[in-house]
Symmetry: C2
């Protein structure tokens, strides 16, 4: 299992690493790594090697602007690029140890199988946290929550147009019950965060009220149209932090020629600045 | 994309392939392929190669007893054995074309990412169907439902002890709303099935009433203790079919020495017979 040790050699947990990343960079920005082979600049070639070269260039161009990186595993799996995802995660851990590494996999299963998904995220890819789906209940999350120093970031209220269909089911909407359970039961079992889309700032505020101190991963800023200022107002915690604001496509595909990494850096800086301004 | 053609060369869809498999084998048994490296007979060696040798031997020993095989991807991913899973799926498609191939992955995401998960299941592994999680709503399932001839098998009421926590949330329990949506909206969008654990036969009957004609994948028979006769009574459809009854560990680990494949065959035959007897 890859260690996540700070400079003094102590093991540090997800929450502590995240607080340090927020402070070191004064940034709540997370860059999502969702490589689309059709949009990778042609100067990088093609195939799994191009996916790795592209993501590595984006990571190196933006690492001092972010608190976290979030590779999305489907984009690697569809291309048969698991070895390249391993290499990318190792690169992030080794070269940019201040950045928190979140594997976006939205896993969810029971018993032995959930244990194997935890092995995949934490042992194989060395992630600090993995996104998981709560539909199967608390016992399905235990294998993720029981890993010392690692975290489960649980889907709560997602950013897609149809997300309310089941997430708002019930008199107490299901997503609020998930948030409440995360703040109580799951927090007592290990380190936990929540996913709430930027597209629903009103519900982000409800989740923050239900889970005052949990980190919240917020996708949907940038290409999905979420407003960074509204997200920060609705989602920050009592200390003024608490958010991991993800942008993927608006950063990755800011430019498409040989200067793609500079364009990505400029887009990331501008998003970081917008989030930072909203915090002040 | 691997074609799923019948002997006449026509493309046939998931539902048609499943009906033929039920009839050809007079069997509702599905063997789940969840290879645990610690339990693979030592005569097969170790590492990803042993995983492939073990699963191939189980498949060849049981293919005439089953309607379907269900590889569980976490067990391959944790071992870095995606290439071996590709080879196993190709072996099932090529050598045992009558068996339906279900990739158990419990995927769930939105937009482009859901498309990539559909590519993974249907293009890379050539599955006839993939298990998916409904928490993100109908739009998240569309990329799986829109593939001609393939199917999404949606988690409804899972077999774990804690599954009621969110699946029973709401005045209309969430799992019944999922079943009702599957029988109406999702059936109109493509081919769909449901997952209902064998451990809750009463709720299996409720799902069957809400979705009279959908195939239901039932894990939890065998090692998880579900009762095959109760499952069949509660879950069969009006035609007397409709169930894909999965057994994994009780078949895979029926023996642990050089005769493991014969022991697996005997366990599969006995489970098939119990399910068959319950149908009559």
């Amino acid at each position: 299992m890859p260690d996540r040790r700070d400079h003094g050699g102590r093991l540090s947990g997800f929450g502590e690493r995240l607080r340090r990343a927020w402070d070191a960079r004064d940034s709540a920005l997370c860059v999502g790594l969702d490589p689309d082979p059709a949009r990778i600049p042609s100067v990088l070639g093609s195939g799994p090697g191009a996916i790795l070269r592209f993501c590595t260039a984006i990571v190196d161009a933006t690492a001092d602007l972010v608190c976290a990186f979030k590779p999305q595993i489907a984009h690697f799996a569809a291309a048969g690029a698991e070895r390249e995802l391993e290499a990318l995660c190792a690169h992030i851990r080794d070269r940019h140890p201040a950045a928190v590494l979140i594997l976006d996999a939205k896993r969810g299963d029971i018993g032995d199988t959930a244990e194997r998904y935890a092995d995949e995220a934490f042992d194989r890819y060395g992630a600090d946290a993995v996104t998981v789906n709560p539909y199967l209940g608390t016992d399905s999350l235990a294998p993720f929550l029981s890993r010392p120093g690692r975290a489960a970031i649980v889907l709560c209220r997602t950013s897609n147009a149809g997300s309310g269909e089941f997430q708002r089911h019930g008199e107490e909407p299901l997503f609020l019950r998930v948030a409440r359970t995360a703040a109580t039961t799951w927090s007592a079992m290990g380190e936990v965060g929540l996913v709430v889309g930027a597209t629903y700032p009103g519900e982000l505020a409800e989740v923050r009220a239900a889970a005052p101190s949990l980190p919240i991963l917020v996708p949907g800023v940038g290409a999905q149209g979420g407003d960074a200022a509204a997200v920060v107002r609705a989602g920050r915690d009592g200390s003024g932090r608490g958010l991991i604001v993800n942008s993927s496509r608006a950063v990755l595909y800011a430019g498409d020629g040989p200067g793609f990494a500079d364009a990505a850096r400029a887009a990331a800086a501008s998003t970081r600045d917008a989030i930072r301004a909203a915090h002040s």
